[in-house]
Structure formats: C-alpha cells, structure tokens
Amino acid sequence: MKRFAKFAIALGAVAVAATGAVAADDPIKVRQELMKTVGKSTKLSSQMAKGKVPYDGAQAEQAMQTIAGVPDKYVTLFPAGTEKGGETEASPKIWEDMAGFKASAEKLKVAATAGAQAAKQGKDAFAAAFGELVKTCKGCHEGYRIKKQK
C-alpha cells in the first residue's frame, strides 16, 4: 500500500510537471523567448565589437555559442496552428517556404559558430565575424518577419 501511495504521488508529480510543461511549451512564447536570448548575446557582442565595453574573449565566445545553440531548436517552433496569436511577428512566408526559412536559420548557426572561433583570435577577428552574423539576422527578418504596430 505504501508503495502504491508513493507511486501515486510520483504519478501526480509527473502530471503536474507535464501541465506546467504544456503552458511553457506554447511555441509562440518559446520562440519569442529564444529571440530575446539571441538579442542579449547580440547586445554584448555588439558592445564588445564596437569597443563600448572591454573585449573579453571568453564572454564573446560564450555569447556566440549561445546564439549558435538557438537555430536548430528555433525552426521546430513553427508548427501548423501557430501562424497567428501571441503578438507573433512571424510572416506567413515561413509556412509557405519552410525550407527557405530553415536555410536562413542555418546561416545564423554557421555565422555564430564561426564567431565563436573568431572570438579566440581577438577583438578585430570577432568584430568582423559579428558583422557577418548581423547580416544573417537581417537576411531572415527581411523576408520572414512582419513588423507589427507596438
């Protein structure tokens, strides 16, 4: 009986965790949070590239690795049914051309991975790699994001 009680409690705990996970798994929210993560790393990288804060190779590398970890997960967060709602700025073109969208996200991953390598070689190499990374941000936002009125 005691064993059964333990089992029931465990089951309950799993159920609660699962419910929590469903709420946190709203793909629109998750993808928006991921973009904020990218924004934070971009901010630090930009400030270091421009010399507005002192260059720190380890931090720069970390920022690039954080960004590099995003695209693979990010592109899975656009299932059918998440085209609208939650203040999403995703363009319908994502669903019309998922392959193109994924290729665009892959460019960010490639650029961030290169950025992490460049970070080890010092500020100038990092700044150049960061410039290339920003092009991939724009390249994707050019066609796959629709700005909404704030």
Partner: protein, 316 residues
Amino acid sequence: MRRLFWAAVILAIIGGVAFYVLTMPRMIDAGELPRHTADVANGEYMFFAGGCASCHAAPASSKCDDPKSTDKRKLAGGRCLITPFGRFYVPNISPDRESGIGGWSDIQFVNAMVRGVSPSGSHYYPAFPYTSYQRMRYEDLLDLKAFMDTLPAVKSQVPGHDLALPFRLRRGLGLWKLLYLDGKQFSPSRGQDEKVARGAYLVEGPGHCGECHSPRDPLGGALSDARYSGAPNPEGKGYVPNITPHKTGIGAWSGEEIIDALETGLTPSFDSFGGTMVAVQENMAKLTAADRAAIAAYLKSLPAVASAPRKKEAAK
C-alpha cells in the same frame, strides 16, 4: 427639351475640356536646368541615397515580391509592389534602349523624377516616389543620370500594372498631382542648422523616407501633419514604424543610436531591421558618417507625433 439636350452637350464639353486641362502633364523646360558638368561619383552616391535599386533591381528569384535582388547594378525591373490599389510592376530603368531608359535626354529624366511624367507625356503612378524626388537638386539629378548611364543595359519584359478599375485611368493622375505634387524643390527652413538641413534634404528628397513611414489619406496622399508617424505597410502586411521623437516612435533612441541603426541594422534593443528596411539600411550604410549623423539630427528635430491608434488584427 431640345434646349435641355444642348445644355447637357455643352456641359459635357466643358467638363471634358476641364478634365483635359486639369489633368495635363506639367513639365519643366530644358531651359530651367542649370549648366552642369555631371559628377558621376556624386551620382552613384545619390543612387544609394535614393534607393533606386531597392525597387528597380530585378528580384533574386522568380517570385516578383522577393525582397532580395542579386545585382543592384542591373535595373531590369520586374519587381511587383502589392498595394491596396492593385499590383504595380516596377519598370526597367537600365540604359537599355528598348526596354529601359537608354537614350533619354537630361530633361526627360528630370521630368520623370520631379514631375512624374514620362518622355511620351503620360503620368507615372506615385508608387514611383516623385513626390519626394521633386525635392532633389537638379545637379544631383543630372549626376544621378550620368551614373545610371554607366550601368549595364539589361533587356527585360515587365508586365503592365494590374490595378483596380478607377486607378487604371492614368490621365486621372493629373488631378492627384494637383492635390499632392507641389513642385517645390528643397530649401532649408529659416534658421535651420546646416547639419539638420542636410539631413532634411536626404530624408525628404532622395531618401523618400516619408513614402513608407508617413500615413496616407484614402487617395494615397501623405497626411502632412502626421508625417513620419508610422503607417500600415503600403506593400501588404505589417506596419512601418513611427520615426518621430514621440514615445510611440523612436523618442527613446538617442541620436547616436539612430546613427548606429542606420550603419549596422541593429536597433537599440539589439533586434535587427527587417522587411524592406534592410535594403534601405544597406544603402544608408554606404553614405558618409556625416550624412548618417545629419539624418539622425533631422529625425530628432521632427515634431513628436503619436502613432495612430492600433487597429485590431482582424481588420487586416
């Protein structure tokens, strides 16, 4: 009864003549152009300041609204602008004699840019932003033409515009121009700081920023007291932001941040520009640092205007 008939005929004739006269293309004479030796380098600068390639370079893919282009020097046209008035197809402005503007005289080019009139005397639709380009100095326009004459000639076939019925009547654009084309060249306002004035010239003239960032009335004319306060994207979905110093605009951006954004494409919150602003920003990055600073100074000097109330998503 007979008198009534003749009265109707006479009224129709008067109406027709009035329409004809009011809608006549108004052009400038070659004699009004200054004597000028063209500066091709300045022409290239104006080419980027004016964003010519953003619309006129052929789209990178077979999709006519593909925002990307492969070669900004090949102005074969063919891009489509999908607007509430219908679908405009951007013409070829390469120096090709058959499908482009090769062989145009200086005055023909200037009249296209500042009066929106083609060499054959017909009106251009204001999707071509001549309401902004009319502010440009003739010298800058002549330099621009000299530069464009050096670009490769490209042959292309561009479809005709596909517009809703009332807008198909080109001649009627003469009336639109009476309302919205004032024919004034740029002149700095009294006491305007030199840097701000340079920014004003770039923003109001070649940059044609107000074409997307200003709200329009139902006839497509910019609302003068709400200029730069943001507007629904004239090409389809989404919204073009308010760039006045209001809190619903970019009031929180410092001048330095505006300069940075124009140079790098990153906003103060480290988001990147998107949509058609990417092509615009890449052009702005080609200008001198002093000109980007002038643009920022002018934007900071604009009256702060609140964005129009937000529309519900369902309305789109």
